[in-house]
Symmetry: C2
Amino acid sequence: KIPDVVVRRLPLYLRAVEDFYRKDQAIVSSSQLGEWTGFTPAQVRKDLALFGEFGKQGIGYDARFLHNKLREILGLTRDVSVGLVGLGNLGRALLHHNVRARMGTPGVEGDPKHWVPETLRIVAAFDVDPEKVGVTYAQVPVYHVDQLLGKSAELGLEIMVLAVPPDSAEAVAYECVKAGIKAILNFAPVNLVVPDDVKVYSADLTLELQSLAFYTTH
Amino acid sequence: KIPDVVVRRLPLYLRAVEDFYRKDQAIVSSSQLGEWTGFTPAQVRKDLALFGEFGKQGIGYDARFLHNKLREILGLTRDVSVGLVGLGNLGRALLHHNVRARMGTPGVEGDPKHWVPETLRIVAAFDVDPEKVGVTYAQVPVYHVDQLLGKSAELGLEIMVLAVPPDSAEAVAYECVKAGIKAILNFAPVNLVVPDDVKVYSADLTLELQSLAFYTTH
Ligand SMILES: NC(=O)c1ccc[n+]([C@@H]2O[C@H](COP(=O)([O-])OP(=O)(O)OC[C@H]3O[C@@H](n4cnc5c(N)ncnc54)[C@H](O)[C@@H]3O)[C@@H](O)[C@H]2O)c1
Ligand SMILES: NC(=O)c1ccc[n+]([C@@H]2O[C@H](COP(=O)([O-])OP(=O)(O)OC[C@H]3O[C@@H](n4cnc5c(N)ncnc54)[C@H](O)[C@@H]3O)[C@@H](O)[C@H]2O)c1
């Protein structure tokens, strides 16, 4: 059983390896991965060792092998379809960002520190507002939330992002669970109650703000 | 010198202690803090030990003392004023959330897992769009970004949140540095170049999505 704190570091390792791999580096060391991600080389080695014996002591990891291995561990060697519920301010920001992070922006180089695996894609959005239902926003079709069950099955949605107001979040989560969604990224400031086999991440942008406050006095 | 990975855990410890403290619990143990935050009790003790000797072995921490100590460490025993640059989709979502997280929403109980210290407040926003400048949004006045230097001084802004498009981010960061801002929360997918005494956090909502992909196959 892999601790969640490790699972949260894996995408950073993947990004780091992706960066070295794209620059044609064949071997990547734990100190390079540590420097890129901000974790200690010891932490890097300890984390990766949970998944197998793939480093060479004193040398490092085969970049191509590690790149594939991390994608495999994260389930990203296949297409993973994501749905978004709530096309308000936050929902629209997520879709815009989704597009920019993949395509880059004219005149601005895509930053390797922000790459998103191309297999992980938001492919549908759901809302209740009649003004938003039936349109396409940032290349994503918007359906009525009544279609959540049907579209989840049809499109094979596996992860749902909840960007709805707090008072709708529990009801929407319930629909997602009924639809067989196993992983939810929730932005609404409410504690969702779900079955044990459903993973909920509660995203909180203010936490980083609170950590930053530390640096105003240190 | 406190490692950044520890600084990122501190706001969670503060929230946990706040929760126990509000429920009139006088002593809080490292295992209770660990269970609340998801970190191991050993990690909790190790982190807190970096700041002093305040636990009693086999008993725990004085909740009131720890609550104050954590606020002190995070610089949150004084008012810390935050500015927001970019009142687009993301900026508006942050201001909405700012209001909801503090006030709660009618009919929905504020979740202790989402509390924000009341001393940390977004007090001003900046934009270039004439439609947005000069209005008040979610109780926050919106100024033109040309006024960033002046307002930062006048309002004592210490942290700036950047929710502008990627091609404006570097220029805005430069203005913030000139204004004496020491901590920046950047959402734009570009790598900001700043002096060594300025701390930049690069927020990335997609990272959690990538970690969640792990749970679709495990
Ligand atoms: N965690 C954080 O750091 C953070 C930051 C910003 C926003 N938020 C939260 O994200 C959520 C969205 O914020 P916002 O500013 O975009 O809100 P918003 O009001 O702009 O958007 C909410 C959208 O959800 C839709 N909606 C409402 N009920 C629905 C339902 N039952 N099914 C489907 N769609 C529904 C609305 O029509 C609207 O389009 C809020 O809960 C907010 O508190 C969290
Ligand atoms: N890191 C993440 O996970 C994540 C998620 C969502 C959005 N984003 C990023 O956040 C940023 C904002 O996204 P959005 O959807 O809200 O964009 P948006 O286009 O809706 O809003 C941008 C706002 O910035 C203003 N602006 C532009 N140039 C400015 C300048 N020089 N000074 C002040 N204001 C200026 C615009 O007038 C507009 O109001 C983008 O860079 C986006 O990629 C990141």
